[in-house]
């Protein structure tokens, strides 16, 4: 079994009902849900693989494709849009060389577009690995991203 998965299963005492939390933790270590790991979970939790696949494909937060070490969510919701989210997004795309829904080839960044992150007063907004950056200009967004390894 994947060494990083055992402690996660132990944390949740191998209980089926924690499947979603377990998947979240797996994604936190691998940045996505590898097929082999899902198969191991199916064995360990006694949940048919078809059911795990259902859950993993249902939530947009889960990815079955490899993802970058850092997840960037750029808001393109209405409030952020009128404050220039489009330009911010373009600046980011130019900086890291990928578009929304994509992951770069050295698996450093994955980029996603969001439709409102619930903090419109701070727009334009992006979230990198859960950290919010508000009142963005293109230059500021690029500067923030350069700070990531």
């Amino acid at each position: 079994m994947d060494e990083q998965v055992r402690p996660i299963l132990e944390k949740y005492q191998y209980k089926k009902e924690f499947l979603i939390s377990i998947l979240q933790d797996v994604q936190a270590v691998h940045y996505y849900l590898p097929k082999e790991v899902l198969e191991q979970l199916s064995q360990a939790l006694q949940i048919p693989i078809s059911k795990i696949y259902s859950v993993a494909t249902f939530f947009k937060a889960f990815s079955l494709e490899p993802r970058g070490r850092h997840l960037i969510n750029v808001c393109v919701g209405t409030a952020c849009h009128v404050r220039g989210a489009v330009r911010v997004m373009e600046g980011i795309e130019r900086e890291i060389g990928i578009g929304p829904g994509e992951t770069d080839s050295d698996l450093k960044f994955s980029l996603e577009a969001a439709n409102c992150l619930g903090c419109c007063a701070l727009g334009p907004v992006m979230v990198v690995d859960g950290e919010y950056h508000g009142k963005l200009s293109t230059a500021k967004a690029v500067e923030v991203l350069r700070g990531y390894e």
């Binding site: 078809s50 696949y53 259902s54 494909t57």
Partner: protein, 243 residues
């Protein structure tokens, strides 16, 4: 026992009976595509909508899920019911324009044109989930499931790859109301392309007929605690031999 009316006529039913079950047992037709007696009601297709009235208020419910209540007044063909039913069939027809059951329903409701432009002429799955539900609830295998969501939702094998848990029993194809699951036995194998499955068939010891996938027989033997070699003959030869 509770007493209620359907379309103005009084009926009695055991508590816990659904409106759909009662209506069917009395020969009152209600269209329903996601319901099957072998599995739990699911409420996916919404075709079985009826209007219920109680204490002077009326509303629409799915009859496959709604259980009978004392004093309920059920209408299976009121104007409201026909309207929602039409709406649902229009949507189904837009998704699956060439599926027989859907077309028949459309004809019955005088629907000539699908409501939306057709994306895929050959789409034949209405997402009732019966295949996956039977696989879980009746067969106990859960080889397949409904995956993705919204417009991307579909019945699929895990990872859209070979459904490794499938035993080839074809229960899914049997319950599918639209014939969306195709299977073929040829050259000694059973193939179910939708699930990526190809399973070797067992030959009857007596008559030589290829009667079932080996994997299904192994599954039966394991779960029903029947020795595997007692499943070496097809059903005909077994009953002829008296056991």
């Amino acid at each position: 026992m509770v007493t209620l009316t359907i379309n103005g006529r009084e009926h009695q039913a055991e508590e816990g009976t659904t409106i759909l079950e009662l209506a069917r047992s009395r020969g009152i037709p209600i269209p329903a595509l996601c319901n099957h007696e072998a599995v739990k009601p699911y409420g996916a297709c919404r075709l079985c909508m009826v209007e219920i009235a109680k204490d002077g208020r009326s509303r629409l419910v799915t009859s496959c899920l709604y259980q009978v209540e004392e004093g309920l007044e059920v209408q299976t063909h009121s104007e409201k019911v026909i309207n929602v039913r039409r709406g649902i069939v229009e949507l189904l027809l837009s998704r699956c324009p060439n599926v027989r059951v859907v077309r028949d329903l459309a004809t019955e409701l005088h629907i000539k044109e699908p409501l939306f432009p057709i994306e895929n002429e050959d789409e034949d799955c209405i997402l009732c989930g019966l295949c996956a539900r039977v696989c879980t609830e009746v067969v106990g295998v859960s080889a397949i499931s409904l995956v993705n969501k919204g417009t991307g939702k579909e019945a699929a094998s895990p990872f859209h790859d070979v459904a490794n848990d499938c035993i080839g029993c074809l229960s899914c194809a049997f319950v599918c109301p639209t014939g969306a699951i195709k299977a073929e036995d040829r050259e000694g194998y059973r193939e179910i392309p939708k699930w990526g499955v190809r399973l070797k068939l067992k030959q009857c010891e007596t008559c030589g007929y290829l009667f079932a996938p080996e994997k299904q027989l192994q599954y039966i033997s394991k779960h029903e605690c029947i020795p595997e070699d007692s499943l070496n003959r097809c059903q005909d030869c077994r009953s002829k031999a008296g056991g």
